[in-house]
C-alpha cells in the first residue's frame, strides 16, 4: 500500500506573541515546526504501513528551510520525502495551494505508484483554514473524511477502510473505498518515540525537490496573482482590558446582577 501525507511547516503558534505597541506579531526566534495535526497524520500512515506493508511518502510545500520538516517526518518512519518549492508559489491562497499540492502529488504517484490513502492534518495552526486538504481531495475526486479520530478497520483486499470522525453531536463511523483522503485530529494516535535507525536514515537520505520544472504544475494557477482571495489588511486584536467587578450584599444579588449582564449573550445563543 502507498500512503501519501501532506504536511506544512508552521511557526510554533504557541510561541508567537503580540506586540501591542506596533500591532504586529513577534516572530523573531519562533521555531518552525511540523504542523502538530500533520504529525498525527504521519504517525497514522506509518502505523498502517507497519501493519499492512507498503510505504509512506510525504510532501511539503514551502521555502527551502521546510526541508527540516521533511527530515523530521522521515525520522518518524516516512520512506520518501518531497519538498515542493518554487518562487512561483509565493502568496498562494488555499485554492492555489491545493492546486500545487495536487499537481505535485500526481508527480509523486508517477514516481512512486498509486496512493491508497491521502493524509493531512485537520488544519494548520497558523492559518487555521482547514481548506487545503478538502481542496486536494476534491481535485483527486476521492472521498473526503475530515476530523478523523480513529482508523478502525482496513481491508486491503476489498480496498475499504472504516473510520471514526468527529461531528458536532458526537462521532460517526464511516466506511469508504480507497483511495480516499483523511484529515485528522490529534486524538487519532499518540506519537511514537521512533527507533534510532529511522533517525539515521532520515539524516542520510536527501529530500527530493519538486518545482515547476520537474512537474506539470502550470504557473497560471499559482501564486498571489492567481489566488482568488487576497489579504487586504492584517492587524492585532485590541488588548483585553480589565472588566467589571460585580459586588453585592449577598451571593444571590451578585448572581442576579451577573445574569442580567450576560442575558443578552445567552439570548444570542438561544439559551433563553
Amino acid at each position: 500500500m502507498h500512503f501519501l501525507v501532506f504536511i506544512k511547516q508552521v511557526p510554533d503558534a504557541a510561541q508567537v506573541r503580540v506586540d501591542y505597541e506596533t500591532g504586529t506579531l513577534i516572530r523573531e526566534g519562533v521555531p518552525a515546526i511540523i504542523n502538530p495535526f500533520d504529525k498525527h497524520a504521519i504517525e497514522a500512515a506509518v502505523r498502517l504501513k507497519d501493519q499492512f506493508g507498503g510505504k509512506v511518502s510525504v510532501v511539503c510545500m514551502g521555502p527551502p528551510m521546510a526541508e527540516d520538516a521533511l527530515k523530521e517526518a522521515m525520522s518518524m518512519g516516512v520512506d520518501k520525502a518531497f519538498l515542493l518549492s518554487d518562487r512561483i508559489f509565493a502568496g498562494s491562497d488555499t485554492l492555489a495551494t491545493s492546486y500545487a499540492l495536487w499537481a505535485a502529488a500526481k508527480q509523486i504517484i508517477k514516481e512512486e505508484g498509486p496512493v491508497d490513502i491521502f493524509f493531512a492534518g485537520k488544519q494548520a495552526i497558523d492559518g487555521d483554514t482547514a481548506q487545503t486538504g478538502p481542496g486536494i481531495a476534491t481535485r483527486f475526486n476521492v472521498p473526503l473524511i475530515t476530523y478523523v479520530v480513529d482508523v478502525k478497520k482496513l481491508d486491503p483486499e476489498k480496498k475499504t477502510v472504516e473510520l471514526v470522525r468527529l461531528v458536532e453531536s458526537g462521532q460517526e463511523v464511516i466506511q469508504t473505498t480507497m483511495p480516499c483522503f483523511l484529515t485528522v485530529e490529534e486524538e487519532l494516535n499518540t506519537l511514537s518515540y521512533a527507533p534510532l535507525p529511522y533517525l539515521i536514515r532520515a539524516a542520510k537520505t536527501p529530500v527530493k525537490v519538486l518545482n515547476s520544472k520537474n512537474t506539470e504544475i502550470e504557473a497560471e494557477y499559482c501564486g498571489l496573482k492567481n489566488s482568488p482571495t487576497k489579504v487586504r489588511k492584517a492587524f492585532t486584536p485590541p488588548k483585553r482590558e480589565r472588566g467589571e467587578m460585580i459586588e453585592g450584599d449577598s451571593v444571590d444579588s451578585i448572581i442576579n446582577q451577573l445574569y442580567e449582564k450576560i442575558q443578552p449573550v445567552l439570548k444570542t445563543m438561544g439559551k433563553v
Binding site: 476534491t138 461531528v167 469508504t176 433563553v272
Partner: protein, 337 residues
Amino acid sequence: MIKQDISKYKHVWVFIEHENGEVARVSFELLTKARELAKDLGCEVHAFTVGDKVKQFADEVFKYGAKKFFIIEDPFLKDYITEPYRDAIVHMIDKHKPEVVLIGATTLGRDLAGTIATVLQTGLTADTTGLDIDPKTKNLLMTRPTFGGNLMATIFCPDNRPQMSTSRPGVYKAIEEPVKGEVIKEKFEFDKSKYTKQIIEKIIEEGEKVNLGFYDIIVSGGFGMGSKDNMKLVQELADVLGGTWAASRKAVQSGWAPQTRQVGQTGQTVHPKIYIACGISGAIQHQAGMKSSEVIIAINKDPDAPIFEIATYGIVGDVVEVLPKMTQMFKEKLGKA
C-alpha cells in the same frame, strides 16, 4: 486562475445547515447578517439547502428574511455525506450564480465549504468573525482570526464569484424579520455508483475524548476548587448552561480532571462565547488558552488573582459557595428547574 464574468452573479446566499430535522442556529445568525450585507449590495437574501425533507424549514427561513429558499430534496441525501451534498449544491450555485455564499463554520460547514469552493474554482475565507461590504468596490470583506487569535486578517475575493465564507457560530445575533418567501425546488440526478462513502453508525454520547472547541459555553475549574469532588460543581453548572466543563493545568495535575479537558498553553485553546473560570488564578499560561473568549466570568477568592485582569465580569468569592447557588439560580432562570 480561471477568469469569470463576475457581473452575472447576484444575491447573498445562506446555507441552511440541519441535522435530525432541526436547523442549526448559525444558519439563522447568518441570515440575519446577510440581510445587512444585501442592503449594502442592493440585492436579496436567499437561503439554500439540500437533504431528504427540507421543505419543512421554509417557514423558519422566511422568518429570518430569506426571500427565496432553494432546495434539492432526495431521500439519498438523508444523512450528510460530503460528496453528494457538494454536487447538489454546486449544481444550484452554478445555475443561479449567487454573489455571496455564507456557510456556518461548524464541522459540517467546514467539511463542505472547501470542497464546493474547489469545484467552483473560487475563493473561500474560512472561520470568519466579521463580514462587511466595501462601500467602494462592493466586495465582501471577510475578517478572520489567525495564529490562535493573535492576528486578524481581512480577506477579499475581487475577481471570482461567488465570494464564499464560513462564519463562526455565535458571532452574529439571530433576529427575526419575517418576509413572504418562495420555495424553489431544484432537481439533481445522482449517479449513485459514484459515491462510495457511507455512514455505518452515529455515536451521539460524549466520550472522554472531548473537543472543547465545539462548545460556546465552557465552565472551567482550577486549583481553587479544592478537591476532585468539588469539580462536580463545575460540571453541574456546565450542564445547566448547556456547555461543557474544563480544567486548568493545576487541576489536571492534581488528578481532578483528565488531560483532554485542560485549557491553556499546554492544553487546548478555546474561544467560546462564555468562559467561566472558577477558582483559577489565571496565570498567563492559562490565559493563552482562553483569552479570546467573548465573555470571561471569573470567580476567585483572591481579589488580586491575575484572571481578574482579563475578566469581563469578576466575582470575589468562594467557588464552593458561589457555584451551587449559581447553578440553582440559572436553572430557574433558564426554565430548567
